[in-house]
Amino acid sequence: MSVIFSKTSGLTETATHYCPGCTHGIAHRLVAEVLEELGLLGETIGCASVGCSILSYNYLNVDMIECSHGRAPAVATGIKRTVPEKTVFTYQGDGDLASIGTAEIVHAAHRGENITVIFVNNAIYGMTGGQMAPTTLAGQKTTTAPEGRQPEFSGLPLKMSEMLAQVPSASYVERVSLHHPKYIRKAKKAVLRAFTCQMEHRGFSLVELLSTCPTGWGLDPIDSLEWLEANMIPYYPLGVFRAPEEV
């Protein structure tokens, strides 16, 4: 019998703590598969951020460092500027990247840091119990927006990929979605392009992965996937916002 699918060696044997239906697990697998396929697992240093993915260092088979909330791009900068030959990435949620860590992500892009950012946007703070994030959609109910986000009071959700694509030294910015196998295949290509960008010394690369948080959203896993497609994709259009010419 021929093996047509096996677990990537980029993931450890440790069972994840993620809730049923959470797409963090898929995002991990994409990163792990891409690093394995590029032969980079032994040459990579990952930066885990504060959020549900903080324990990603237990699941990804690479050297990793835990970063304070929002600071992963600065930590990644310090690492990359010390060992430029290593592949360096951050893995950040939307609370981490789009709220407390806006300065660090903008300036990593601004300097054109040759790092890769995996940005998991689930439109909510998952780990702390479903509070409103800058990415929470208008009308979306959260524990700190019990009536739903009111744009006239809290503004409209931040579109980080569009923002970062405007930064002159950013190199590659793409938004993809993890709600469906067809989209996951596209997402993997985006992750591959982002790490390839870094290998080719092209500078700052970021992939925004639209993700689910069934627990925070108060939906079951299937409904979450449908909610993502029906609500997030119209507001957060998928696509490449910035690319170096030949990528």
Partner: protein, 350 residues
């Protein structure tokens, strides 16, 4: 050479390979000097977008094996405290310079020592301690800067250099020890290098959700702090042997106090000085065995009384502990100190 430049040059000779900084007066000569000179020495200077970013860049660089440092002044240090707590928790060797200015808030840009609490009590969260070296001359600044890297490596800890606007801006001749410049950071079992597919992945982390595990980690840190407080206490004792009145002062204030001590001797009074060179670990033992002649202690600081707490704890009520401080960037004159000392010696301590 200016004090700040002496520190910066000593850092290069101490083997510093990476520097991250953000502009703030009165420490600007350190990043400016290193922006010019560190690349020539094969190192990296990078201007960060904030002190928060600088301390996190330091964390990443040192975790990847760099001999790295950052510098700032008081409000910048306040911003770095979250990162410093992280560096202590994860035991990352590195050096952090504070060229203190007056506070609170934006305060002023003139010299002050009002960060004593910040530099000895841990401004960040959690139970941790940081070695704090407090030079009083430019020569000592340079020596401590070089030693700081060695201490950081030896104990796997951040090390503070506590300077101030006066030391940073003054000029004095300095002789540099250039012999240590070539030392490389040896491969350590915690440095992030990538696992090369021949070992299990390494993790640098501070999160321990199991309270029992966190307690074990914290107690291990405390063990280390205990070893440091036994082995690394430093202070200078000046004319203390038969002193009736013992001053305690650190950094640039101690220079002024020395003048006053000499002045008092000329007037026929026996005064002495204990100058902590390590603020943490604090040289409590210098006060445990006070000379029999000692009738009172006076702590002099350019703040409203911070080291005073440590002096009182060390004296343990055996003799009265007085305080004289100037703050906001005001610098005490030897004459003021002498006048205050004469009041105390004549029994009129109020």
């Amino acid at each position: 050479m200016k004090g700040n430049e002496a520190l910066a040059l000593a850092a290069i000779h101490g083997g510093c390979t990476h520097f991250f900084g953000y502009p703030i007066t009165p420490q600007n000569e350190i990043p400016e000097f290193l922006a010019r000179e560190l690349p020539k020495a094969g190192g990296l200077f990078l201007q960060a977008e904030s002190e928060i970013a600088a301390v996190n860049m330091l964390y990443g660089a040192a975790a990847a094996g760099a001999r790295a440092m950052i510098s700032s002044s008081s409000p910048g240090l306040a911003l770095m405290q979250e990162g410093i707590s992280m560096l202590a928790a994860t035991e990352i060797p590195c050096v952090i310079v504070n060229v203190m200015r007056g506070g609170p808030g934006l305060g002023g840009i003139q010299p002050a020592q009002s960060d004593y609490f910040q530099m000895t009590r841990g401004g960040g969260n959690g139970d941790y301690r940081i070695i704090s070296l407090a030079p009083a001359t430019l020569q000592e600044s340079a020596e401590m800067m070089q030693e700081a890297f060695a201490l950081a490596q030896k104990y796997r800890t951040p090390v503070f250099i506590v300077s101030d606007g006066m030391l940073g801006q003054m000029m004095e001749p300095v002789e540099l020890n250039k012999s240590r410049s070539k030392e490389r950071v040896a491969e350590q079992p915690w440095i992030l290098t990538g696992h090369h597919n021949n070992r299990s992945p390494r993790t640098i982390k501070s999160l321990r959700l199991d309270p029992a595990e966190l307690e074990i980690h914290n107690l291990r840190l405390q063990e280390k702090y205990k070893r440091i407080s036994q082995a690394e206490v430093r202070f200078e004792a000046y004319r203390e042997v038969d002193a009736e009145l013992l001053f305690c002062a650190f950094g640039s204030t101690a220079r002024i106090v020395k003048n006053s001590v000499d002045d008092l001797h000329q007037k026929g009074y026996r005064a002495g000085l204990i100058r902590p060179q390590t603020l943490w670990p604090f040289p409590a033992l210098a006060f445990r065995s006070l000379p029999k002649s000692c009738r009172s202690v006076i702590c002099v600081e350019m703040n409203c009384g911070q080291m005073l707490d440590d002096v009182k704890l060390a004296v343990e009520g055996r003799v009265p502990v007085h305080f004289y401080g100037r703050c906001g960037g005001m610098i005490p004159e030897p004459e003021e100190l002498t006048a205050r000392a004469l009041d105390i010696l004549s029994g009129d301590s109020q």
